[in-house]
């Protein structure tokens, strides 16, 4: 039987990890993820989970220790944010390259300079091409649910890649919400112990992390591309399995009022929730607007996105990070590339950068973006391809 408790995003992730029978947690505290690590150490110190907590001296060592632990066949978790993720950057590529199914919670936060502790997606967007699967949660419930699913996805022998579950710093990490949690034994039934494929068992010695020169390196990278492609179906399978356990439906992306939408906002994370609320209001005013929220950002769910866009004529893509010097910012670049690849480049797109350093985006802002999209759909003209929402001139 499920029960309902009040949890913040950080607490929801820690609670899920506690139920997933992890063997090793190696992490370094950083705002706004700190409570996640504090809770996990509390569980270990109180004997509530039978895991080793390696309280490392840096994020770089956190992920290094996770890679080592994962190679033994252990189930491994880490968590970070912002500067910590940036410090891990080198190891992110190693974790995916060595095919370690590590699960990482990220409380997304702006990157310095200037120093800022509040939420935006600069940290994870800076690591978007590191070969990890990346999931963005809209609320604490989704964070909880995705953590449990993530171990199963990452450890699947068709995938064997690390995965990050992202929550907006403070907005989700520190807000108490209603979360329906599973019983421990239900999680155990859903998520059996890890069955490692290749380990460093000294009885069957192997060499991991050899030097691959131009004659082999490329093949290893091609394998990673393949594994990420395979993960689409594995994620869907796990989502279906999870639905049968919980009744909660997940997929590569979520759509809201898209069946007959003329325009849509595409957004990751908590902002999609605000967009849905605004869309509901606009629908009651007779405006055909919808929302597309990719749960999974890597691998990018382009096929599902194209289906979701359907006959919509204009899209406003919201990015909570800057790709300095790029034609579009990260999410928008992917959307535009997907439209092009599927022969739908006639769909009008504009890109809104918002919320950097934790600046609020309000329902009024979102309403204005929807209205602008409707105007674009009507006239067929995009006046501003790139906008900065709520910044002072």
């Amino acid at each position: 039987m499920a029960k309902v408790i009040g949890l913040t995003g950080n607490e929801a992730i820690a609670y899920a990890v506690k139920q997933c029978d992890v063997d090793v947690i190696a992490a370094y505290p950083i705002t706004p993820q700190t409570i996640m690590v504090e809770l996990l150490s509390e569980y270990v110190y109180n004997g509530e989970i039978n895991a080793e907590f390696v309280c490392v001296e840096s994020e770089h060592s956190a992920l290094s220790a996770c890679v080592g632990a994962s190679l033994t066949g252990a189930r491994v978790f880490t968590a970070t944010a912002s500067q910590g993720l940036a410090l891990m950057h080198e190891m992110l590529y190693v974790a995916s390259g060595l095919r370690c199914p590590i699960v990482m919670g990220v409380a997304n936060r702006a990157l310095s300079a200037p120093l800022n502790i509040h939420g935006d997606h600069s940290d994870m967007m800076g690591s978007r091409d590191c070969g990890w699967m990346q999931v963005y949660a809209e609320n604490a419930q989704e964070a909880y649910d995705w953590i449990i699913q993530s171990f199963k996805i990452a450890e699947d022998c068709r995938v064997l890649l690390p995965i990050s579950v992202n929550i907006d710093g403070f907005i989700l990490s520190h807000s108490m919400e209603r979360v329906e949690v599973l019983e421990d034994e239900d999680v155990s039934r859903f998520l059996p112990p890890r069955k490692p494929v290749i380990t460093i068992d000294p009885a069957k010695p192997i060499t991991v992390g050899a030097l691959c020169l131009p004659d082999y390196y490329f093949e290893m990278k091609r394998q990673q591309v393949h594994a990420l492609n395979e993960s689409y179906n594995v994620i869907r399978e796990v989502n279906r399995d999870f639905e049968s356990f919980t009744g909660r439906k997940y997929d590569l992306l979520e759509t809201y009022e898209m069946s007959d939408a003329d325009v849509a906002i595409i957004s990751l994370g908590s902002t999609a929730g605000t967009a849905k609320a605004v869309a509901r209001d606009l629908r009651s005013e007779g405006k055909k607007v919808g929302v597309i929220k990719p749960w999974v950002y890597r691998p990018f769910p382009e096929e599902d996105l194209i289906k979701a866009v359907g006959d919509a004529e204009a899209l406003a893509v919201l990015d909570r990070a800057c790709s300095f010097g790029a034609p579009f910012n990260a999410l928008c670049s992917d959307v535009v590339a997907a439209l092009y690849r599927y022969g739908k480049s006639s769909v009008k797109v504009f890109n809104c950068v918002y919320g950097l350093g934790g600046r609020d985006i309000t329902p009024t802002d979102i309403r204005a973006i929807f209205n602008e999209a409707l105007e674009v759909a009507k006239t067929g003209i995009v006046k501003e391809q790139l906008e900065f929402i709520g910044v002072r001139e």
Binding site: A65, G68, G73, A74
Partner: protein
């Protein structure tokens, strides 16, 4: 006491690696694995040994071996040690595994010192071996925190104004011992018996152990490849490389050098010091000799010896 004919014949670090002819690190790796009681997992930092021993699709290792990056061998070893601990507690694993982290001086003195310090402070049960060839030899002889005063490297060249590295070598074992670890020691492969015994000891103790071993490098220190062990022996006999250990805070001098050879015997057979023999740089040799004398007295006194 180790007898050579009692050491295992089997090579767990096999032939076919691409270390340079006469490389001291090759000898050190062989000795290390002959001392290992097994089962063993080796974590290797990026460096000479790592690149030369695992050029895909070939590996010289017959034990499980992991390379992750340059600066984090100690952190990776921490994760492996912690994982086996957790798996054992859950009944998913039944053996003790010796975790040996191996890194060069770059991966230890410089870029890896933070990860090493963290792992020592946390008290993981592992052995960390720093094979010290006193510069970044793998990438073409750049200075490190382990390069001695006066030595010429490509980033501390024998210039007209600055004749080789102005700074002196870091005290690695002092730093490690200050963490209050179980066991820390220096060694030289020329004294194989001492080194092998120390590897065995380092694996036996529960908790972290560090061995700092001199690794002669024909290419980077510039001497004839046949002289590797001779250079490693002279390092000890000139008191340049005191061989001692610190067990639970207690210092012990393992190789006494009552009548040291002059330091120049060690310097003159290595090209990296040849510029110091020009008359105008004589004072640099004297400075290095002073450092050697002071370092020896300091360690001898810690060991309760009269220098």
């Amino acid at each position: 006491m180790v007898r050579l004919n009692e050491l295992p014949v089997e090579e767990l670090f096999t032939s076919g690696h691409r270390l340079c002819a006469g490389c001291g690190a090759g000898t050190i790796m062989r000795m290390t694995l002959k001392a290992a009681r097994g089962p063993t997992v080796v974590v290797n930092a990026t460096g000479c040994v790592e690149v030369a021993s695992t050029i895909y699709p070939y590996t010289s290792w017959k034990v499980s071996w992991v390379h992750v990056a340059f600066e984090n061998a100690a952190a990776v070893a921490s994760g492996i040690e912690a994982a086996y601990k957790a798996l054992r507690r859950k009944g998913l694993w039944d053996k003790h595994v010796d975790v040996i982290a191996i890194a060069g001086d770059g991966g230890t003195f410089d870029i890896g010192i933070q990860a090493l310090s963290g792992a020592l402070e946390r008290g993981h049960d592992f052995l960390y071996i720093c094979y010290d060839n006193e510069a970044y030899m793998n990438t073409g002889i750049q200075r490190s925190g382990a390069t001695p005063h006066g030595a010429a490297t490509t980033t501390s060249p024998a210039g007209r104004r600055i004749p080789g590295k102005p700074e002196f070598k870091k005290d690695l074992i002092g730093i490690c011992a200050a963490h209050g670890i179980e066991y820390a020691a220096t060694a030289s492969p020329a004294y194989w018996n001492d080194y092998i015994t120390k590897v065995q000891r380092g694996l036996e103790v529960e908790g972290p152990a560090v061995i700092h071993v001199f690794s002669p490098c024909p290419l980077g220190m510039r001497f004839d490849s046949s002289k590797s062990m001779e250079v490693a022996r002279l390092a000890v006999q000139t008191r340049y490389w005191p061989v001692y250990e610190v067990e639970k805070g207690k210092y012990k001098l393992n190789i006494k050098v009552p009548q040291p050879k002059p330091l120049v015997d060690f310097l003159k057979i290595q090209g990296r010091f040849s510029h110091l023999f020009q008359p105008e740089f004589q004072h640099e040799i004297e400075a290095l000799q002073r450092w050697v004398d002071e370092n020896w007295s300091r360690i001898a006194s810690l060991c309760g010896e009269t220098a």
